[in-house]
Symmetry: C2
Subunit: 328 residues, 2 copies
């Protein structure tokens, strides 16, 4: 299986290479594409130094293209990649809402991947992390209404977002003013209730992505879901406070039992030992941490819980490689 | 009017002195009490240097005692202060749930302050900030169910919490491990879904404080409210994502009109100009910022909004001084 990574020097691209190695993805050849300014550099993979190539026009010599270089680039190049015989697993939002394109979280709707017509979309990071925890509960108790508040890391804006947070933080500690370029305002010691563009209904596109994508992945267009997406000064793991109203009776104990048996989930829920999901512990992990599971004080058959998942892994690179594994 | 500040060197204590000066509180004498290790030091007030005194046993020479030195100290000393003729405005949780003690946010229930029997309690910071924004909406549209996720600053744990966040951040930037002492885990570049002790129902005491106190302040023991309280790496302003279901029809426009006329509220809700509540802009302000006002996607007559309020001001010192002003 020949694999190409497009956008290999980005925050997600670098994780894609590491995840392919860590999961021993059975590839015969790995090609890495980046912008011309990276030409001549290499990235380590299984003891080799793989050269970074400039992305050519037209098809790529690959069975699977893992694309993570922005929606514009994917839209422009994907048709030629598909025409050349590649299956494209796209990390951008370019194709996610196309009814012909499967949108896949393997723990939820692996079978959808097999109906692809050349392109499979990888969901938004917040959606993927939520879906892993919510899906087993939805199957067991049927979610009716979902309310989510997010605590999203700088990595959602890529390597440059992470660097901006580090630079700003350094400046603030030294009494200098932080000037934002990647984010709409300084993020160091701040929180920003603004990710992606505002829509006519007052929600941001990031918030609506979770609504649109969760419905598509779950195959449940009626699911009611609302989100407040907030950027916080963490580096690479998203957390989410989730409130769900279910159709069927649920207890924290029955929910915990369901989650403990669920793939991709790590239940971290032992408050007495100060164990609950946190970026500090979820960073670098393949599983999504779920904890703080408790009965809602306001909703009938309601549950509150907290999740933390590595935005660059389950929120991006890991999910894409898991989709590639479905194609083997 | 003779005023005493107990706990004058704490994060809230220092703000109390500044707020008394900034609001030109008509005091004839200011006495500042702190622990013995501060003896000999002074704090500036209206161009004077006020000496820090060691807190004596027994009554204080003050008409109003603003106490912010922890619940244990308040419980031990308040009876003697009251017996000596002082009115005690207490910032701890020691007396908040005592039915004889008014719990006051002046924008909401100023009249309750006048029924005091010597002690008036200042609410939890998250509660006070929420109450200022929620009360006018509750009066206009009758809140039925309230769901809150918080983004709480290090200052909620006092000056030592703020210092720990700064020290940890410095260490992380220099590649060193951060070891938490004030917080249950390192807070730098992390979020902690754990503030105060866990209760039997799985909620933390911080979360339940908002439930208990909002009901008491609003005089509405039936109000349904649920909270996820999360510490984030900011210094002194709490933010909150709030979802409310009202009994009566509500639109973002009607809610905005109500909030624009409400005391203590500053509507910051112009997404096109990137204007919304943030710690960066709410820090140092007396008003609570409210924005991101939009129709809920999941609740009938529902509204989502975001608030940011300075934890040390409206969440503590400012509210206490406003209560003192009611006694003039």
């Amino acid at each position: 299986m020949r694999v190409a990574v497009v956008g290999a020097t980005g925050a997600v691209g670098r994780e894609l290479v590491k995840v392919l190695e860590a999961r021993r993805f059975p590839l015969s050849e790995l090609r890495l594409y980046a912008s011309p300014r990276s030409a001549g550099e290499t990235i380590p993979f299984c003891g080799e130094a793989i050269p970074l190539e400039v992305l050519p026009e037209g098809p790529l010599p690959a069975d699977i293209v893992l694309a993570s270089a922005g929606g514009g680039l994917s839209k422009r190049h994907a048709p030629a990649w598909v025409a050349g015989g590649s299956v494209v697993i796209d990390n951008s939002s370019a194709f996610r809402y196309d009814p012909e394109v499967p949108l896949v979280v393997p723990e939820v709707n692996a079978e959808a991947a097999r109906q692809h017509q050349g392109i499979i979309a990888n969901p938004n990071c917040t959606t993927a992390i939520l879906a892993v925890a919510l899906w087993p509960l939805h199957q067991a108790f049927k979610a009716q209404r979902v309310i989510v508040s997010t605590y999203q890391a700088a990595s959602g804006a890529g390597a440059k977002g992470m660097q901006e947070l580090l630079d700003e933080t350094h400046k603030v500690l030294h009494g200098q003013a932080a000037a934002a370029q990647v984010f709409p305002h300084p993020l160091a010691f701040n929180v920003l209730p603004h990710i992606d563009a505002f829509q006519e209904n007052g929600y941001t596109r990031e918030e609506m992505k979770v609504v649109w994508e969760t419905r598509k992945i779950f195959g449940d267009p009626e699911l009611k879901i609302s989100v407040t997406a907030v950027r916080v000064p963490t580096l690479r793991t998203h957390a989410e406070a989730v409130t769900v109203e279910f159709a069927r009776p649920v207890t924290p104990e029955s929910a915990r039992a369901v989650l403990e048996a669920a793939p991709g989930v790590r239940v971290v829920d032992d408050p007495e030992r100060r164990a609950y999901p946190m970026p500090l512990t979820a960073t670098g992990r393949w599983e999504v941490e779920v904890g703080r599971i408790r009965k809602s004080l306001v909703l009938e058959n309601g549950l509150d819980f907290f999740v933390a998942g590595d935005q660059l892994l389950k929120g991006a690179a890991l999910n894409a490689v898991q989709i590639a594994e479905l194609l083997l």
